[in-house]
């Protein structure tokens, strides 16, 4: 019954390494999102995508990039990991506004906890 799958549950990386976080959804959703979740700061939007090959910056895009080559897959890339990117990363997807029955409701993955040493 899993609908949004994040490939890695736990990762440990070293400063300067390139990190890929993968997310796949099987609901044919147009919209996909990457958030980071930190205690006391809530969820902060990093990047989102309305469609294949489209991306939009969220509130904290610095140090991150994304890729959406296929509708079902949205990847988050840390070009050069730093210790302040240690966090829980959440992927989510949704169908656009205007579509009935669950439009705009986010379905989340289980999260990827990244530790950068």
């Amino acid at each position: 019954d899993v609908k949004v799958t994040q490939s890695s549950r736990y990762l440990v990386k070293r400063t300067g390494e390139k990190v890929f976080l993968e997310c796949v959804q099987d609901m044919d959703h147009e919209n996909m999102f990457w958030y980071r979740q930190d205690p006391g700061l809530g969820l902060r939007l990093i990047y989102f995508s309305y469609d294949v090959k489209m991306k939009e910056k969220g509130d904290i895009p610095e140090g991150y990039s994304v890729s959406r080559e296929k509708k079902e897959r949205f990847s988050l890339i840390l070009e050069s990991a730093s210790t302040n990117q240690t966090s829980m990363y959440l992927c989510a997807s949704s169908s656009p506004r205007g579509r009935p029955l669950g439009a705009n409701v986010l379905t989340f993955g289980a999260g990827s906890r990244l530790t950068v040493l």
Partner: protein, 107 residues
């Protein structure tokens, strides 16, 4: 700027007592409002949305446009309500989350 405020980071309530989790927003236009919940070791999930005007697990949330608030309420807390709760207004396709309130129900 679009903002959402959850003033309480932590809230402890005795079982059977009423619960109110506060949410205030500052948004242009008419945002759609949601409450999301994350139980221990579970995924973040939708609890309720204001346009549905429904009660989920005994929780309700009334949109007060005059006060720009969307407080979450339950008349009688249960132990299984212990979780992290996020208020989330949505102005377009982008959802903005508050900082969250961790609710603990004391047996």
């Amino acid at each position: 700027a679009q903002r959402v405020t959850q003033p309480e980071k932590l809230l402890s309530v005795f079982k059977g007592a009423p619960v109110e989790l506060k949410c205030n927003y500052s948004y242009s236009g008419s945002p759609e409002l949601f409450w999301y919940v994350q139980y221990s070791r579970q995924r973040l999930q939708l609890l309720l949305r204001h346009i549905s005007r429904e009660s989920i697990k005994g929780f309700t949330a009334d949109l007060n446009k005059g006060e720009t608030s969307f407080h979450l309420k339950k008349p009688f807390a249960q132990e299984e309500d212990s979780a992290m709760y996020y208020c989330a207004p949505r102005g377009n396709e982008k959802l903005t989350f508050g900082t969250g309130t961790r609710l603990t129900i004391i047996p």
